[in-house]
């Protein structure tokens, strides 16, 4: 019945995320507060299924499961959901769960629907067990998850701003957090994401010096562009040159660029190794 347990778990997670998002969205559009136990029950069940799926995938393939676009999007979804559950518990921001679950639904659905996303696992020759590479991958994923959540809160900021400018009072505008809360959170998320990605890039660069040719030029360029983009936005924000709506738009568009950049990054990875070979590590960032 369950021919591929890891994939089945990941598919179940997608269904639960989509159901959770659809339920909360419908309630909000109808002008009602969604039932929190129901909503978070669906999201947490999806998170549990996804955690199981990623773990089983890793056991099945002997790799940290970020070896292709499908796995990258799944892992990114996992980080985003994890972060939003923490933020929801600590900050209690209204509607953050709704919007973050929307991002989780979109990313995880994309992982299933993008043609060729779930290619056979990639292998990089010369796996020498460098533990820093695993740390580099985890940091990079974490930073992208933070940027994903930043895109969500930036979207919420823009919606609230739109409602205030258009003098809309009811519906979702009544439920959104204040501009001040969202702006403060946006700044904090950008800071966290930039620091995490900076460390990840630094580790990747050091490994590249150690092993030139282990990372493709396409990937280096794309990742550097994403990192530089967020760094620039952070600097401009700190100097009060990029504020309010413009800052929120920048965060949203940068994340869209980061997402689109996942495709050329995964396309630039080497061809799969024969079945039975056992690489120790992957050089991803």
């Amino acid at each position: 019945m369950f021919a591929n347990p890891p994939l089945d778990c990941l598919r179940a997670a997608v269904v639960l995320y989509v159901l959770g998002f659809a339920y909360a969205l419908l309630a909000t559009l109808l002008g009602r507060e969604h039932n929190r136990p129901v909503f978070f029950g669906l999201i947490i069940a999806g998170f549990a299924a996804q955690s199981a799926g990623l773990y089983l995938r890793g056991v099945q393939t002997h790799y940290f499961p970020v070896t292709n676009t499908f796995e990258l999007l799944q892992a990114l979804t996992w980080v985003t959901v994890f972060l939003q559950l923490i933020l929801r518990a600590t900050l209690g921001l209204r509607l953050l769960g709704l919007f973050a679950s929307g991002l989780a639904a979109v990313l995880s659905l994309a992982s299933l629907l993008l043609p060729g996303a779930d290619l056979p696992p990639m292998v990089v020759a010369g796996g020498d067990g460098n533990p820093w590479i695993g740390f580099h991958v985890a940091l990079a994923l974490f930073s992208y998850g933070v940027f994903g959540l930043l895109a969500v809160t930036a979207l919420m900021y823009l919606l609230q701003r739109h409602g205030l400018e258009q003098k809309r009072f009811g519906g979702i505008f009544r439920l959104l957090p204040s501009l001040a809360e969202l702006d403060a959170l946006n700044r904090q998320l950008l800071l966290i994401g930039v620091w995490a990605l900076t460390f990840a890039v630094a580790i990747g660069v050091l490994d590249w010096f150690r092993q030139p040719g282990g990372v493709s030029a396409v990937k280096l360029t794309v990742v550097a562009a994403v990192w530089a983009g967020y760094l620039m936005v952070g600097w401009l924000r700190a100097r009060h040159r990029l504020v309010a709506g413009a800052y929120a738009w920048a965060c949203l568009l940068l994340f869209a660029f980061a997402m689109f950049s996942l495709w050329p990054v995964s396309q630039s990875l080497p061809s799969p190794a024969p079945v039975g070979s056992f690489p120790k590590t992957l050089t991803h960032s």
Binding site: L164, E165, S178, L179, A180, H240
Partner: protein, 344 residues
């Protein structure tokens, strides 16, 4: 079990003008006298009773052994107590019995019978009145059950209908908008220009939400100090206002002017100096204090009296639309409570 002889004699904003309600109001110092009148030695000997006294209603709830003759006796006693003509008291009163009393209590607790439909203050007032009656030993099993069920009914109405949603006064709309922009108004700095009544009302609404730092500007310093005093705020002359825009988060404009006081350029300069913090300008004056072309400035949220009134009216319409649903459901809940009390 026979149905209890439950009654209500009251006077509300629906049955009596303010002048009459003022005479019927029961000050705290005379509440003991009213309870004595209802059930004390020499009183009417009611088995249970409760007095609800607010600015919009005075209502006496009770359970008696002889409801047939009670109304006349009650009117006669109360008219002597309030020094009113019995016929006048009777004319401005409402009288209900049995299940209708339960329905009325539910409606009142939910704010359906209030002047401002859906207001929540009445819920606290009913709870206080019930606590007081219980403390006196005046309420009993019938009133205890009815009022406790009314609290549940009120909570249901607030949770499941729109009767309490949205602000319905200009001041509370302004306060809600400030909350949408700044989150906690306690952290915001208010700048009030002028002494208009609507401006004072908006300021009061913001202060009630926690706003503390207030600066008042007027044509003369003395007048500004007079206005700022009750709010423990600072006072400045109008000439200083442009410089203060960079630090004020909420600007309430209520000056009487012939031409706008605040220009687009002044607000644009202030917005730039605020380093990304939004500026909320509420122009409550007619003629307007803020130049109309200031609308659309980035990070400046400009609302005039028409905008606030439109939002308040929209919210009120939504509340009124929800009233029928709430009334129907609460009537059914009241019917079930009455059936249980009557042993059916």
């Amino acid at each position: 079990m026979p149905a209890p002889d439950l009654f209500l004699l009251g006077s509300t904003h629906r049955t009596a003008p303010l002048a009459v309600r003022e005479r019927l109001a029961v000050p705290a110092a005379r509440l003991d006298n009213v309870y004595d009148l209802l059930r004390g030695p020499g009183g009417l000997g009611l088995a249970e009773c409760l007095v609800l006294n607010t600015c919009n209603r005075v209502e006496l709830y009770g359970v008696t052994d002889d409801i047939a003759s009670l109304r006349a006796q009650l009117i006669e006693r109360l008219s002597r107590f309030h020094l009113l003509d019995p016929a006048e008291l009777d004319r401005f009163s409402l009288w209900k019995e049995h299940e209708a009393v339960v329905t009325h209590v539910f409606d009142v607790a939910a704010g359906l019978d209030s002047q401002m439909v859906g207001e929540t203050e009445i819920f606290g007032q009913i709870k206080d009145s019930y606590s007081d009656a219980a403390r006196r030993g005046a309420s009993g099993p019938v009133l205890n059950r009815i009022f406790q069920k009314s609290f549940q009914a009120a909570k249901w109405a607030r949770t499941h209908t729109a009767i309490g949603r949205g602000a319905v006064s200009v001041g509370s709309v302004a306060a809600e908008l400030a909350t949408r922009i700044f989150g906690d108004p306690a952290q915001s700095h208010l700048l009030l220009l002028g002494a208009g009544e609507v401006g004072q009302s908006a300021l009061q609404a913001l202060r009630s939400r926690g706003a503390q730092a207030v600066t008042v500007a007027s044509r003369t310093l003395a007048h500004a100090q007079e206005l700022a005093g009750p709010h423990e705020g600072a006072a400045v002359e109008l000439a200083r206002v442009p410089a203060l825009l960079a630090t004020a988060d909420i600007v309430l404009c209520a000056l009487t002017v012939e031409t706008p006081l605040l220009t687009r350029e002044q607000l644009a300069t202030a917005a730039h100096a605020r380093a990304g913090r939004p500026l909320f300008v509420i122009d409550l004056a007619v003629p307007r204090n803020v130049a109309p072309d200031a609308a659309g400035l980035d990070n400046v949220y400009l609302y005039n009296l028409d905008d606030l009134a439109a939002i308040a009216n929209e919210n009120l319409s939504a509340r009124l639309a929800a009233v029928e649903l709430a009334r129907t459901t609460l009537a059914e809940k009241a019917r079930l409570v009455w059936a249980a009390l009557s042993g059916r």
